[in-house]
Amino acid sequence: MTPFDLVEPPSLGEALKLLEPDDSAVRPLAGGTALMLLMKSGFFRPKRLVSLRAAGERLARIRIEPNGELRIGAMVRLAALEWAPEVRRDFPVIGHTLRTLANVRVRNVATLGGHLAHADPHSDLPPVLIALGACLVLAGPRGERAVPVEGFATGHYETVCKGDELIVEATIPPLGRRRAAYAKCTTRSADDWPALGIAVAWDDDGAIRSPRIVLGAATERPTRLKAAEALIAGRTLDGALLTRAGEAAAEEADVVADARGSVSYKKQLVKVYVARALRAAGAGPAAP
């Protein structure tokens, strides 16, 4: 690595001013775990890094709003999210997902905002957040805007977040009667990046309402499997439905081959893991 300018603005506003959207060598720095890999390998050679470490309390907190909505600051470390009592209580699927995300040391340093902004398609949380209907608050020179996590990533390492914007926080609607689960499949070792991850969620009133089935890692970006969602909507889970949902998901999923599996194998995994994720969500305790 080569020397660079490192600044630590004391507020979000100051941070936004220090960004230079036209200069790709100026970037915000959150936990830095992903950025450091790019810097060490020579892919990214920063001129200036804008550390968000001190950019305000709002980026650093986790809280449940009176309406039950969960707000997570962009600079909240993944480990803090994993262990936060309110998250464990009200959103158990998040803690469960984080348990196998990278490793303890990464989770101790990496932040939610960095995890999402990096937009590595193999990330575990985006499919879960999409299934839960989460949104992001982005701040920029023209003020703030909210965007759903669904659609935030537009491709490999690309998002709708502009060069002069920063993620401020994520909001997750209260779980209510929603059931949720995340099923992760690795093919080269237990702690490998996932070959695929399936997040599912639905409102449970005895039948399946507003289901979401989201595929991560095997596709260019996290993708909802809408044919499978439509298939299960309004029904109750049984073995035959699980099989059909898996088949529909495999059919529609636009999976990409890589060292973790060929297209046809990953489609088989989609089929199996969609059924397993649905079964896990259905078997878990209904949300309070």
Partner: protein, 166 residues
């Protein structure tokens, strides 16, 4: 440009300061400025755990942690774990269980175990395997390491006032 800067931090209980480059990592600074070699860079990607150090009590990969971010924090390395000649119970347990071969990954496993037991004094085998899955031992001393973590858990409990006897 501020490509170099002075950082102040607590290193193994002592006040410390260093003139560093912004591009330098914590493991490099510990090695080159403080002659501490217990945290060592191996995979360079935060996957093997050989460069583990505790920052404010949280384990981090020293090879992916900018030294500049260590300004104002408390750092503990393997060298600071024993009090004088008296080993930490985790070190004792690793020694007694023969939980290493070449020893290169050992400081990382010991510091991770230290943090694990601070958070969860009586981890199950499944919890141990999950917690330590981000540390690699190419010699494959894993069975002995699991045994050592369990022994360390007993030792910690028996030393804590009011803790259960081993």
């Amino acid at each position: 440009m501020s490509a170099t800067r002075r950082i102040r931090f607590t290193l193994n209980g002592q006040a410390a300061a260093a003139e560093i480059g912004t591009h330098e990592t914590l493991v490099e600074v510990l090695r080159d400025r403080f002659a501490l070699f217990g945290a060592r860079e191996s995979c360079s990607q935060g996957l093997c755990g050989c460069c583990t150090v505790l920052v404010d009590g949280h384990a981090v990969s020293g090879c992916l942690f900018l030294a500049a971010a260590a300004d104002g924090v408390k750092i503990q390395t393997i060298e600071g774990l024993a009090s004088g000649e008296r080993l930490d119970p985790v070190q004792e347990a690793f020694l007694e269980c023969g939980a290493f071969q070449c020893g290169f990954c050992t400081p990382g496993f010991i510091l991770m175990t230290r943090q694990l037991l601070d958070e969860n004094p009586a981890p199950s085998e499944d919890e141990i395997r999950h917690y330590l899955s981000g540390n690699l031992c190419r010699c494959g001393a894993y069975p002995e390491i699991i045994e050592a973590v369990k022994l360390a858990s007993h030792k910690v409990k028996s030393r804590t006032p009011g803790g259960a006897a081993p």
